[in-house]
């Protein structure tokens, strides 16, 4: 019966979270903790792990809870459940879109939605920069506080990354591999050399 409960819960999570990504966390937290599948602490730990594993967060958490509660069968169950609602909905939309794309009302709505999407992605860059480059909880009252509260190594990696990516038009995957290498050099190798 646990399988059915897992399936229904993650189907619900897949169906009712619009906007994707971290917008899904509150609902996931509510459902998963209320069922007693994970404690709040375990969930927080997992969010940290999910950030360093590939794939969308909602899919990752679904697989993780399924695996913990019902092994591989559970993981397959929850992952299918979280993807199924949007799969069905998008299938219908994709079919209709080819016919309605040129419809003037569809074009009108998209005319207003395109700049929103650009704004949202730009906001994602801004938010990632704030959380990645500024030390958490730093109190900034003056310019000197600001310079003291920066993660300089991350900023240097960002600048090297920007230079090679835009200058040499690298494939995105190559940039990810390069920045992983830089991370190991800056946070692993260099401290070891300097601290003996």
């Amino acid at each position: 019966m646990i399988y059915l409960e897992l399936f229904i819960t993650f189907f619900k999570i897949g169906l009712f979270t619009i906007g994707g990504g971290y917008a899904m966390i509150p609902l996931i937290q509510q459902e998963v903790v209320a069922h007693g599948w994970l404690t709040l602490l375990e969930l927080t730990d997992f969010i940290a792990v999910a950030e360093s594993t590939p794939g969308p967060f909602a899919v990752n958490i679904a697989t993780f809870v399924g695996m913990e509660m019902g092994g591989l069968a559970g993981a397959l169950m929850t992952t299918t459940a979280v993807v199924l609602p949007s799969f069905i909905i998008i299938l219908f939309i994709a079919k209709a879109f080819t016919n309605f794309q040129q419809n003037k009302w569809v074009q009108g709505a998209l005319y207003g939605m395109r700049p929103v999407v650009i704004g949202l992605i730009a906001a994602a860059v801004w938010l990632l920069m704030v959380s990645g480059f500024i030390i958490k909880g730093a109190e900034i009252h003056a310019v000197s506080d600001f310079f003291a509260s920066l993660h300089y190594l991350e900023i240097i990696i960002f600048m090297i990354g920007s230079f090679v990516y835009f200058r040499f038009r690298l494939h995105p995957i190559k940039l990810i591999l390069i920045s992983a290498g830089l991370g190991m050099v800056f946070f692993g190798v260099l401290p070891m050399l300097f601290n003996g």
Binding site: I18, G19, S52, T53, P56, V83, R114, V125, W126, Y165
Partner: protein, 197 residues
């Protein structure tokens, strides 16, 4: 016979492409956008560059994960139902596999120091990628006072408030519809023609 083989080959390419996208995007949602744009528009020419923004808009405004929604949509456009199924499987299978393994060794994984260092670097690299995607898409946008206002408002509200993005998308859609109602039909159609050129 040849057509059938071509179709199979196409399905395989769709699967492999989205498998790669699923495997190499860390940090979820927005981190996938640059890779999806690169692979589907620039590399395989499955999607025209003017359409990719519409697909992201639809993927965000519908339930579920953006990356999965985009995969399903693009898969359908390229190769119908089977295309959408294989694209979705492709984008999900890497995380399904990796997380299943991690769940077995959860505590050990958390204490892998060097993995942590690598991901600190990757997190900085992902910002570069998303920045690149914004620049690329911004270059293709049409700019009128209205669209610039919408863009700035969406950026500001998403950056500095906790508003759910669905309200921003709805607001954009409603504004676009009112604008369409306001303009004579000719004008907005003309604008869209210009975009296509």
């Amino acid at each position: 016979m040849k057509e059938k083989n071509d179709y199979r080959e196409k399905l395989l390419t769709v699967f492999i492409t989205f498998f790669k996208i699923g495997l190499f995007t860390f940090g979820g949602g927005y981190a996938m956008i640059p890779l999806i744009e690169y692979e589907t528009v620039e590399r395989h020419h499955w999607i025209e560059s003017k359409d990719i923004l519409d697909i992201f808009a639809i993927a965000e405004a519908t339930p579920g994960v953006i990356a999965v929604n985009t995969a399903t949509f693009v898969g359908y456009k390229v190769a119908g139902f089977w295309g959408s199924l294989l694209a979705t499987l492709g984008v999900v299978i890497p995380s399904l596999t990796i997380i299943s393994i991690i769940a077995l060794f959860f505590e050990q994984f958390q204490s892998l120091e060097w993995v942590g260092y690598a991901f600190k670097g990757v997190r900085a690299g992902v910002i570069v990628l998303i920045l690149g995607a914004v620049v690329k898409m911004a270059k293709k946008g049409t700019y009128t006072p209205l669209t610039v206002l919408i863009l700035v408002l969406a950026f500001g509200l998403a950056s500095f408030t906790d508003i759910n993005v669905i309200y921003l998308l709805l607001g954009g859609a409603v504004t676009g519809l009112i604008y369409q109602l306001w303009c004579s039909n000719k004008q907005i159609t003309k604008k869209n023609d210009e975009v296509e050129k």
